[in-house]
């Protein structure tokens, strides 16, 4: 027991600092990927709802592929594909080989995967806004921008948030997959710690607890936010 506390501690060769850094990297990757995913999701949702047939089919293809292929495979594909693409460009421009790794790649790859899910959430919540509501806003003489901020957004927000909080929890869990491409996030640190101390069980259970706390705390806060955003809805 004492040995376990020392191994997880912050001094005397403990891995506490490394785990803390890993937690921060995991949060950075998840937050970054969340925003990339939201942006991609919103664009894809708009493409599905308002695009011409060609754009629509691209958007649908992107969603179908990302939802049918394992995230791990997509991460490998985007990682290797992306890095050789960047190297091809650099080679063409006359620069040497660059090592593609780290945070930006992890964020881009994970965001690309989650964008597909986000697009379905946005599509659903945009469709949940009845067109009569926006028309009523127009009849009151609101500008399109005012209609969006005062009518469409408040109505769709609770619908979108329910889906987006699921997405966020999934993102935290999927960020563990990034450890296979060697970014030093939480699980990667645990693997290194387990490998060098042979205490695999201790470190993997420790990171499981950290992941659980992150998902627990964020679902609690998101639920509070959802209740706040639902305040215009009549109680049922």
């Amino acid at each position: 027991m004492n040995q376990a506390i020392q191994l997880l501690g912050f001094e005397n060769g403990g891995w506490g600092n490394a785990l803390w850094q890993g937690t921060l990297v995991t949060l950075e990757i998840s937050i970054g990927a969340f925003f990339v995913g939201m942006l991609l999701g919103l664009l894809t949702a708009l493409a599905k709802l308002h695009g011409n047939p060609f754009i629509q089919s691209i958007a649908k293809g992107y969603t179908t592929v990302c939802r049918a292929v394992p995230e791990l495979l997509l991460i490998l594909l985007f990682f290797y594909g992306g890095s050789s693409l960047i190297n091809a460009v650099f080679d063409y421009l006359g620069y040497g080989y660059v090592e593609v790794a780290g945070l930006p790649v992890a964020i881009a790859v994970l965001g690309l995967v989650q964008g597909a899910y986000a697009s379905e959430i946005f599509r659903g919540s945009i469709l949940a806004v009845h067109s009569g509501q926006a028309e009523a806003g127009a009849a009151y003489g609101m500008s399109p921008r005012k209609i969006f901020f005062r009518v469409t957004l408040p109505i769709m927000a609770p619908y979108a948030l329910a889906g987006l909080s699921n997405l966020w929890v999934n993102l935290i869990k999927d960020s563990a997959l990034i450890s296979v491409i060697g970014t030093n996030e939480l699980l990667y640190v645990a693997k290194q710690a387990g490998g060098s101390t042979r205490e695999y069980l201790l470190f993997f259970v420790a990171v499981a607890v950290i992941y659980y706390l992150i998902t627990l705390i964020s679902s609690y806060m998101l639920r509070k936010l959802e209740i706040y955003l639902r305040r215009w809805q009549p109680p049922h």
């Binding site: 592929v65 394992p70 490998l76 594909g81 050789s84 296979v180 069980l201 992941y211």
Partner: protein, 227 residues
């Protein structure tokens, strides 16, 4: 393409492993999920609370971490147990396959358990009362009325959950099990071809997803509906 033909046996074996994991996870996970759902709804807190905690922890931690805990964590403990290397269990305890299968069963039990619980709660009260009025025992009413009704309602969700399970099987490749993705990774490391094996395997996953959706759509048609 020639590379892929050369290694088609490996990919075929990988596909079999992936499908085996999917089937094991689905069948045993589904059975356990019914147990989890019933435990969650139990009126005894001593049964309901552990079931709630189980669902919450399994759904709140990454599946990959769970697999690592079983494979590296428990696996090392098992290998230190005296006399285990000579026991009949050793071939199973050494093979990553069974750890992934176990992880998938546990995870399906938690995710599907939540879904089935929702379905059980949505069964109209009057139907259960009618069953009881016919003199059915609680178990009989559960087996003949509540569970079938709950499962019928869930049919559309089940297809989605099965696809998620199929995608989860790919995590097997991280602990050196040669499933579909594992096969692709092997070909990648032997031939230095990156895209071809990964893309081919991605296409196989897409086809498998399509087939799963087709099968569940057929099953859904067989559900009796009042017209």
């Amino acid at each position: 393409m020639d590379v892929l033909i050369e290694y088609s046996d490996l990919i075929y074996e990988g596909l079999q492993i992936t499908l085996a994991l999917l089937l094991i996870g689905l069948v045993f996970g589904f059975i356990s999920a019914i147990g989890v759902a019933l435990a969650r709804l139990s009126k005894f807190r001593i049964i309901a609370y552990p079931a709630f905690l189980f669902t919450s922890v399994i759904r709140g931690t990454p599946l990959l971490v769970q697999i690592y805990i079983y494979y590296y964590g428990l696996g090392t403990l098992f290998s230190q147990a005296p006399g285990i290397r000579t026991s009949f269990l050793w071939p199973y305890l050494r093979d990553g396959f069974w750890y992934v299968a176990f992880a998938l069963i546990i995870s399906t039990a938690a995710y599907l358990g939540e879904v089935i619980r929702g379905g059980l709660l949505a069964v109209p009260k009057g139907e259960v009362e009618a069953a009881r009025a016919f003199g059915m025992t609680e178990t009989k009413a559960l087996l003949r009325v509540r569970l079938p009704r709950a499962l019928y309602q869930l049919a559309p969700t089940l297809a989605g959950e099965t696809v998620l399970l199929l995608k989860s099987t790919a995590l097997a490749s991280t602990i050196a099990v040669v499933d579909l993705l594992g096969a692709a990774n092997q070909i990648r490391s032997i031939t230095f071809e990156i895209y071809k094996p990964l893309l081919l395997v991605a296409i196989i996953y897409i086809i498998a997803t399509y087939i799963i959706e087709l099968v569940f759509a057929q099953l859904e048609k067989r559900i009796p509906v009042k017209r």
